[in-house]
Symmetry: C2
Subunit: 182 residues, 2 copies
DNA sequence: GTGCACATGTAATGTGTTACATGATTAT
DNA sequence: ATAATCATGTAACACATTACATGTGCAC
């Protein structure tokens, strides 16, 4: 049920936090840790147009201080679509092919859903990630001893360790959440 | 000087290791840690066609065991393009927007370039990554204390820790390389 | 008065994804 | 016989990137 691109969901999530213009959103992508999204106008303005055509956001011309800017905010339908995206299951595929998107979903969770939903998300995420890490560790044994100095093997190790770091982070997050509930 | 997609370079690098067919390459993507590349025929066959049209690979029909398969291997020009890609500088942009591609370059290094080139690559990579990690750690201070329990902040932390893990890996790799040279 | 930040767009291009399509060979 | 694997492709579609394009307001 992928109905929109990651960029579109990112924009929706940001607009939920604060109604703002395309230019504002570009600045978010240019100056915050959301850097890995492109801040080029050629990606953001068309994406906002698509969202508006789909009825997920609405816009109004603002004439703030002599300068006119088009400010966007999510519609009911848009908010619903965002929440549906957030609440969807965390699958093995999300972990392997869409890890960044899954982290983005997590980032938007607490502003949009109840705490138990967030906790459930973390549990699913941890389960799938742990399974994948186990699989990678298993795959490691397939490397011949003399291949363990090759850059190919080392690059693989880098990937495994990066996933392990994410997993440790997830375990910490889950424990922290459980403490808060208690 | 980006002349080809990551997928095209991945295919070139694999063909340097071993001349093989599109189907073989699909299996590599489907069964090895190079999973995050799609193994769909709609991506791989057109990419191979582009590479052949560009003169970077050549193909020959093989009739191995009653089954016919088209086996590809890199041309001189293709090998040159691959090595140029591998030897290019590691920039800040590579670290922020193309980390996976940079790791892929690293993975192919020792099969294609001399050891000092690999070491230089690692040094550049470490310098840029360390600078970016410092920047992220700086950015962390911008979060208000009461925002430190938000999923947005936690997602940010996940990213930072993942980069830190990559950096520790890089330091280890560099030291290991220096020991071998000694 | 010149350059920079604000502000919003369009057009061309390349490419990845998904789905569709076909046919041969091997294993059950 | 029939399902799975081998093997190669095409077509429609959406999307991101890059470059181009325009105009305003403010600071120096």
């Amino acid at each position: 049920m992928v109905l929109a691109s990651t960029l579109e969901y990112a924009l929706l999530g940001l607009l939920r936090q604060q109604a703002q213009s395309g230019y504002d959103l570009r600045k978010v992508f240019a100056t915050t840790p959301m850097r890995h999204f492109s801040d080029s106008p050629g990606s953001i303005y068309p994406a906002l147009q698509r969202l508006e055509k789909r009825g997920w956001v609405s816009s109004s011309e603002e004439k703030n201080d002599a300068r006119k800017r088009r400010v966007f905010s999510p519609t009911r339908a848009g908010t619903g679509a965002l929440i549906a995206w957030l609440e969807g299951p965390v699958s093995r595929e999300d972990v392997i092919w869409r890890l960044d998107e899954t982290l983005l979903r997590f980032a938007f969770l607490d502003a949009n859903v109840k705490r138990p939903v967030t906790l459930h998300f973390v549990e699913q995420f941890e389960r799938e990630l742990a399974a994948y890490v186990r699989e990678l560790e298993e795959h490691e044994k397939a490397f011949a001893p003399d291949a363990r100095r090759s850059t190919g093997y080392l690059a693989f190790k880098s990937g495994v360790e990066s996933y392990q770091a994410r997993l440790e982070w997830l375990r910490r997050v889950r424990k922290q959440f459980l403490e808060v509930v208690r």
